[in-house]
Each structure stands twice: as C-alpha cells, then as structure tokens.
Symmetry: C2
Subunit: 405 residues, 2 copies
Amino acid sequence: MKIDATRLNARLDLLGQVGAVEGQGRTRLALTEEDRLGRKLVSMWMRETGAEVVIDSIGNIHCVLRGQSDDAPIMTGSHIDTVRRAGALDGCYGVVAGIEVIAAIVKARLKPRKTLVVTAFTNEEGVRYTPDLLGSRVMTKEMSLSDALHVVSTDGKRFGEELDRIGYAGEASPWEFLPSAFVELHIEQGPVLDAKGLAIGVVEGVQGYSWWHVAVEGRANHAGTTPMALRLDAGTAAMELIRDITKRSADSLTPAVATIGTFALEPNSINVVPGKASFTIDMRDPYIQTLARAEADLRDAVAALRDEGFKVTLNCTSRNDPVPFSSSLCERIENNAQARSLSSMRIVSGASHDAQMMARVCPTAMIFVPSREGVSHNPREFSTPAQLATGADVLLDTLWQLVEA
Amino acid sequence: MKIDATRLNARLDLLGQVGAVEGQGRTRLALTEEDRLGRKLVSMWMRETGAEVVIDSIGNIHCVLRGQSDDAPIMTGSHIDTVRRAGALDGCYGVVAGIEVIAAIVKARLKPRKTLVVTAFTNEEGVRYTPDLLGSRVMTKEMSLSDALHVVSTDGKRFGEELDRIGYAGEASPWEFLPSAFVELHIEQGPVLDAKGLAIGVVEGVQGYSWWHVAVEGRANHAGTTPMALRLDAGTAAMELIRDITKRSADSLTPAVATIGTFALEPNSINVVPGKASFTIDMRDPYIQTLARAEADLRDAVAALRDEGFKVTLNCTSRNDPVPFSSSLCERIENNAQARSLSSMRIVSGASHDAQMMARVCPTAMIFVPSREGVSHNPREFSTPAQLATGADVLLDTLWQLVEA
C-alpha cells in the first residue's frame, strides 16, 4: 500500500487557503468561521473515503473505519486549528495524512481487524481558548466535558455556545473511540532533522517544561558618579544568573534547553544603573530528574544573588512533567522507516501535541518529518511534498500493523 | 574669615521651596515661572551683599565684587535650574555658598585685589533646553549666543523669547567677566565621599563619556524545539558582550564605569528565542587614552559577535572627551582642606558641570562635599548643614587666595 502523495499535498494546500491572508499565512483560530470552513472541508474528505464521520460533544471529528473485531480502536490524528499567521502544515498534516491512510486501505479493498480512527481534535493550539489540547484533554479526562464547555474565549465567547454556533457540537461521547494505541504524524517544528538531513524523527516523548518569572531588585544609581564597586546593579546581576542557567543547558548531556525570551530593566534609562530587572525563563528537558535538577539549580542561583544583597522574587508560572512515549511503538516506527530505507533518529518533541494527552491513556508515539530551518508558527513553515508523503507512508505502515495485530 | 553657616543653610532651604511640591521635591526647569522666582530670590541675596548684580544676554546672573586691580576676575558659580523632582542642593549650593563668600569678605571689610564674581549660569541641567550647560557654553564660546537664543524648548518655546518673558535677558556681554580662574563648589552626587567618611573631594576633572546604542540580530526560534547548539540567540549574545564590557570596567585601574541602562528583546515572548536585542552602553573614564581603549574594545567585541553570525549595528549617540582640571588649583584646594584639618581625597566627577566648560578658557577646579548614599536628582538628595558649611569655608579660603594672588 502507498499514500496518494499528490492528493495529500494538494489537500494540504487547499486547507491552507482557508483563513489565508496574502503574505500573512492563515489564521484559523478554534471555533471561528475559518475553523468551521476548515472542518467542513476535512469532514467532506473523511466522508469521501467511504468511512463513517462522527462528531463528539467536544467537537472532535472522527473518521471511523470499522474493523472486524470489537477490540478497542487504533487512533491517529492531530488538529486543524492554527495560531495567528500560521503555516499550512502544523496539525493539518497529521489529519490529512490520516485520511489518506484510510483512503489507501479502502482503495486496497482491505478491511482491518481493529477499527481505525482518524481524529481532528478541537482547539489544540489554545490561542482563543485556554487551556490548549482541549479536545484530547477531555477525551483523556484530564478536564471534564462540562468545564471545557464553559471555558470563555479571549473575545468573551463561551466554548459550548461557539461550538454549537459553528455546527460542531456533536452527539457522540468524547470517550466512544478510546484507543488501545495512538500515533500522531507531525512536522518537527524544530531544525534537527533538517540540519542532519534525516527523513524520519521517531518521537520518544515530549519535553517537560518549567516556566519562571524572575524579578531582581538592586539599587538604582547615577551611571556617572557611582563607582563599579559600590553598585548593586540589578541588570548585570540578572544577566549573570541567566548566563549560568543557559550555559548549564548548553553543556547538558540531555537535549535540555533554556530560553530567556523576555527581559526588562527599570527605570530603563541610559544613564541610570538599573534598580530592577524582570525576565522569564523557559526550561525544557525530556527527563523528569534532570528537569528537577535544573529547577533546583535555579533556586540555588537565586539564593546566591540574595546573599549578594539583591531582593529576588521567583515564581513558577507554568509547569508540565516530561511525557515519555511507548518504546515498543517507537521501535515499530523505527523498523518501518528502515524497511522503506529511510534514515531516522530518535527525537524528543519540544512543542506540545495532542499525543501527550493520549499517552496518559494508551501506548503512544509520534512520527516527525523535517521542517525547513525549523521554522513553524510562521507563514514560512515548509516541508517538501516528498518529505510529507514519506512520513505518511510510515504512518500507513505503522497503523496497518497495529490494526492487524 | 568664616562663612555664615546658619544663613547658608536657611537660604538653601528657602530656595528649595521655590517650585516645591509636597513629597515630590522641587521642579525648577530653566526659564519657567519657577526659575524666575528662584532668580529673583538669588538676585536679592546677591544685592544684599552690597556687590553689583549684572545680568548678561544669555541670562547668567553675576554678583560682582569689584577688585582694586584691572586683572581678569576670579569666578565661582553654579546654577539654580533643576531637573524634575530634584533635591535642594544640586547647583544651588554652589551659587548660595558663593554669595556667602562675598558676604564674608564684605563683612570683614576687605577689598580684594582682583574682582570676584559669583555666577548663576542659565540652563545647566538641559531638561527643558538642549544642550545642557548653555550659560557656560555661550560664555566659553562653545556655542554662539545667537544659536543659543534660537534653541527651542521641549514645550516649543524659543530660548530668547522665554528669557525675555521672565525678565532675564540682560544687556551685559556674556564675555564681560571672563575669569583667570574658576572654582565650582558642588555636592558629589555620588557615594564615594560618604562611603569613605571624608569631608572634601578635590575634583581633578570630569569623566569623559561615550554613549552607544547597540542592536544585535540573530534568529528567532521556537524555545522548545530548537536545540541550544542550533540557536543564534540575540539575547544571550548581547548579554555576553555586556558581561565583557562591564567586567572590563570593574577590573580597570582607573575609575572607569560602564552602565547598561536600557535593554529590550524582540519579539519579547516567553517561548521564543530572541531574534533581536537592543541596548545602550554608557561608558565613562577620566582619561582620554583609557576611554578610547574601552571604545576600541567595544568595537572588537562587536566584530567577534559578527564573526559568530550575528548582525550588529553600533552607533555612538553622544560623546565627550574627559576634561582635566588644573593640578595647581587642586593642590591649593587640598592644602586649604588640610589647613582646616579636613579629610580629603582626589576625585573625578561623573556628572557634568559648568566647570567643564570653564576649563576650556581658564584654570579650573571643583570642590565636592559628601552626598548621603550618593543620591542626587532625587528629593532624597542630602548633605548635612555642617558638611555644606565646611565646603563653603574651603571655597572661601581658596577664592580669597586667588583674588589676592
């Protein structure tokens, strides 16, 4: 069996035109008019395969190819909502490729042993509704259906009402298709596969992350009259701490990362020694022990600054433990890549995905294909049609093995 | 001879009430109604000494105690305009103490050999009119009178018209009292004398300064998916350069300082590796060679960043060479402090003063008294009445020697 690569890429182009603005990519926030149009298109393609289309009460759209047994289904899927000014591939690729997998099986006149489901999850990005991963969060009971339906959007609209308005408040239970395995196909959204020239990333898990807000208070002084030795410069003290934190990640043996994305000084005047520095730290690590160690080191660095006379406030603003995926599923994907003579490597996802929710209820893994220069959440997001087709073929092989197992 | 310490301090309090707002210090910007009231008060005190009061065409107010000879006069002075929410001492101290020097000489029924002039210079602070040091700048022909009169304020008013409006466009030439020596008495505005517990700072010169705007461009990337080794993080790169620059100053054998007062990241988002960092550098050094060396080192550090793949723009936004004062005047002040059993040290001014303009036309020096915790340009600016009286006594001794020499 083989994926229809031409149709896969043509459909990604077409879906990418829903919500598109010239030069600004596309914006298809969850439960907006653009999302409704995207859902209509995807549902139509699902129906064209001959499989059943089921909408559940959190708005997840399921394309269900019934199997011969009553065993729990095998599931793949991703999302079609986007961030603002997005690329055409993030999420959409996994959904459209999943539909092609079913189309390929149907075309081959095969009927799988287990039921195969392709799901387009609601509100993965979390731009308009917080939290993100809402469809998979409800499916895995990380959040109650009722709580989810009451979430209010950034523009003041209740989730349940908006879902109803766009016509995607389905009657099926969100738990009807709880799978025995889940595999998500996605673009990497990072530069590793592209930089190494590899075809397939076998995703072992999702990095844990730990977000911090740090404020360092020293003493504002005249920049001309205050000798260096008499300063309590909040800016350079903060930068020294940042240096320790980022150097620690750069030297780490794990693929740990640490990012200082925001930084501000007060009074922020050219000739005043900064009295206050505020910044954020985004730390990620695939291993829970090393993430916890990085957090402990941050606390130690803060204590050292306090000993030097600075007042430091440290707040954890968001945190998620790392999510390990199924090693047997990873091995299977690796073998399938090898069987098609494709180069591959084990990789850890730095971004969030519905798969990390699904990993709470069943063996889960992901397949990555390269992103050019690692650019994502950006109109310049790009993978070649051949790379996309290759990933879809590996998904097909993997899902077929799972439904037949 | 001795200064009337009680009156000196009472007058500083009184002048400090002009333009005062409860809890916010005083604001007496150049050529405003508050400045007019301050000038009236100071002119009145000048006249009370029995000396002549002369206003020149840039608005400088001169209190002139005629000498017996036709030799060029000896001059002291400072300014009475303030920054916003200022303390009561910056500038005012030098003017009011100068008046007390003349009052002490007159009270002692002495007539000096040379003419002694106490000058209140116009627009020293440069808050409402740029450039600063305008009165002394015109007196030393660093700026033409005509150019100065055409300068437009931040609120759109021409200097000449405002000077006329407040009644201080005098008829005297700004060059009528060009002195053969100039000594300015001032609070330190820095923490050195206070920290060392010394009475008198013998000011050897004014630091040169060099102001820079630096922009570092790297590559914005996803904070989760981009491994440390594949980043071109403009933020941490900028911080590394800043570390080199500030460490260089801290380790310097000269009283060099370097301050990063402003810093901004783009896009300034917690989960995006910064694509751009912009910041300012304020470098000061009392020696022209070491200042030039610091500037060369900055250029080298920028070149190194460029070699790493960053795009760096570097602009010098303002620059002044260091101004050395007269070593013989410094020795004289030092001896006078010693003669009164006062502790003293040589010091370099980190702030700008009219004295640095006067140094272009005659031997010049300054006398500093301690500022509590170095706080200035702030309502909390404070020196004890005894410290202020002590400084004025040293000024008296020094000026008397100079007019008699």
